[in-house]
Amino acid sequence: MSAQTPDVAIRLDQLTKQYPGGARPAVDSLDLTIPKGELVALVGPSGCGKTTTLKMINRLVEPTGGTVWIDGTDARTLPAHELRRGIGYVIQQAGLFPHRTVAANIGTVPALLGWKKDRIAARVDELAELLDLDPTLLRRYPAALSGGQQQRVGVARALAADPPILLMDEPYSAVDPIVRARLQDELLSIQRRLQKTIVLVTHDIDEAIKLANRIAILNVGGILEQVGTPEEMLRAPANDFVADFLGDDRGIKRLSLITVDDVPLREGPVVEATDSPDHARAVMSENGVDWVGVRADGRLLGWVGEADLNGDPTVGDVEAKPFLATFRPGMSLKAALDGIVTSQTRVAVVVEDDDRYRGMLTVDDLAEGITASGPGEA
């Protein structure tokens, strides 16, 4: 296989790491391709060698066999420290230098590369904006920052010299779930802007599904069990190990990858506010439910149950109850499912950003949505 494909950022070629005295290699002849501009997640149980593999890319761990090709070149041709100055590196505890200000931390690699002071300063400001860091933090020392802020600084620092590749080793494991979710969203947004090649090690399969373009699942000893898009893997796990690792809620996990925009919506039992109660009752029996949605000027006011219709002239005279599960474009089917099972009406309602009614979804619609994107394994 040629290593010269322009779209391949990193290629791991029979990569092996055998520690002296170890019974088996920590990583055994791993072949893996990481395309340019993609975020590839390395996931697996402890001992699968995912961190070791990551560290062999920037040679913090030297391989005992095989080659790491970076943009077509053997990673060993450069002195290790020069190689690393061209690769961003983010670790779990951030590892910020306590004795330097935040700004100096961020500017570390540019300084190592010999950039001029004003260029570094400008770049630091740029990154502070990108990473949503309050500029007043720049002159402070890391000890004054919260965990989440420190992680952001860590990412800013990694991106400072604008490396094409970013290596991340469990970057969000040490922060609490709320902060973690925010940081993950920020990473996605940064990636949309910058299109870096990112290799992310995590033990959290949900994080991998959320963030990665491609997931590589490793088994103990660095054995690659499967690599593919999250959607592919959830739909068709290659073997029992992968299926177990993905969890027994694969179907629901797949729902988190599909949005309400991707599935056909049904009109559902909806009447205009000006309609009569009799019309409403007819619609109810047509659809086999005991409620109707009420619409006025294209917007949904809510729903009324059969028991609420008491001889008012129009449906609009009855006080409508709001739909519990209301969703905007871009929200996931998983969220829609959660809404459906917790609501009285058992539907998720989809509206536009300006609240105009688009349609609704039932549980059956969701199931249709999943199977429509490809048959899953039983």
Binding site: N58, L60, P79, I91, P98, L167
Partner: protein
């Protein structure tokens, strides 16, 4: 003995002998500086060896500890038949006494650098020596300075005793006074000055440490003994100082 009836300080005598007193003070400082200076250089080498080859730290440390435990007067005395009287045996012993403190603190300082900071530095492209200089050293500095502080203050006390084997310094002032036995003034002046010198140097090092480590300003190491922070290396050295330097001020200066 006339000591009993004389006033503690005969100020006229002080006035008359200001030059001599000043001379003794200068000598005292010089002797201290030489000992700490040479001790620092040797300890640095020992520390580098101990860090690079961990297995040597035990034996080296043990040797320094034994040296440290020997009462200073005894050590001075034992060196006399070998190198004679005067500055040489004194400095040899004085240097020996600084080793334990400086070595321990240098190694503790280095060990106190958080491993993730080292990993991040390597990962970003710092090559070995540069990382040592720009990352490990600054972070080890609080502990190293604390070590210098303890060593210096301890040495001041020891130099006082060294006068008994023929060096100059404030100890000579004390000693002459004792030997003369007719009035306490030189004894008092010498003692008070040596105490003052030690305190001044102690404070000076505290200020140096504050100045050299601006990133620690938000903490006050004097009131916080937190063993989980690398800062604690210095604060720990303060308390460990109770272990080491308590031994120092006494053993060594006691001698």
């Amino acid at each position: 003995m006339l000591f009993a009836t004389e006033p503690l300080v005969r100020w006229k005598w002080v006035g008359d002998h200001l030059d001599e007193i000043w001379q003794d003070l200068i000598e005292h400082i010089q002797l201290t500086a030489i000992a700490v200076g040479i001790g620092f250089a040797i300890s640095l080498v020992l520390a580098i060896v101990s860090i690079r080859y961990r297995w040597t730290y035990g034996p080296i440390g043990a040797f320094c500890a034994v040296l440290y435990a020997i009462p200073s007067l005894a050590l001075f005395a034992l060196l006399i038949p070998i190198v004679g009287l005067g500055v040489v045996p004194a400095e040899i012993a004085l240097v020996g006494y600084t080793l334990l403190i400086l070595l321990r603190n240098m190694v503790a300082g280095f060990d106190g650098v958080p491993p993730e900071v080292r990993e991040a530095a390597d990962g970003m492209g710092y090559e070995g020596w540069r990382r040592g200089l720009r990352v490990d050293l600054p972070l080890a500095l609080p502990a190293i300075i604390a070590g210098l502080r303890i060593a210096t203050v301890t040495t001041v006390g020891l130099v006082t005793v060294a006068a008994l084997v023929g060096t100059g310094g404030l100890g000579a002032l004390i000693n002459d006074g004792l030997d003369r036995g007719d009035f306490p003034t030189p004894v008092v002046v010498g003692s008070v000055l040596s105490i003052a010198l030690a305190i001044v140097l102690d404070v000076m090092f505290v200020l140096i440490e504050r100045f050299a480590t601006p990133w620690r300003r938000r903490q006050r190491p004097d009131t916080v003994i937190n063993p989980d922070e690398p800062v604690g290396a210095a604060a720990a050295a303060d308390v460990a100082g109770g272990e080491l330097a308590g031994a120092g001020a006494g053993v060594a200066s006691g001698g």
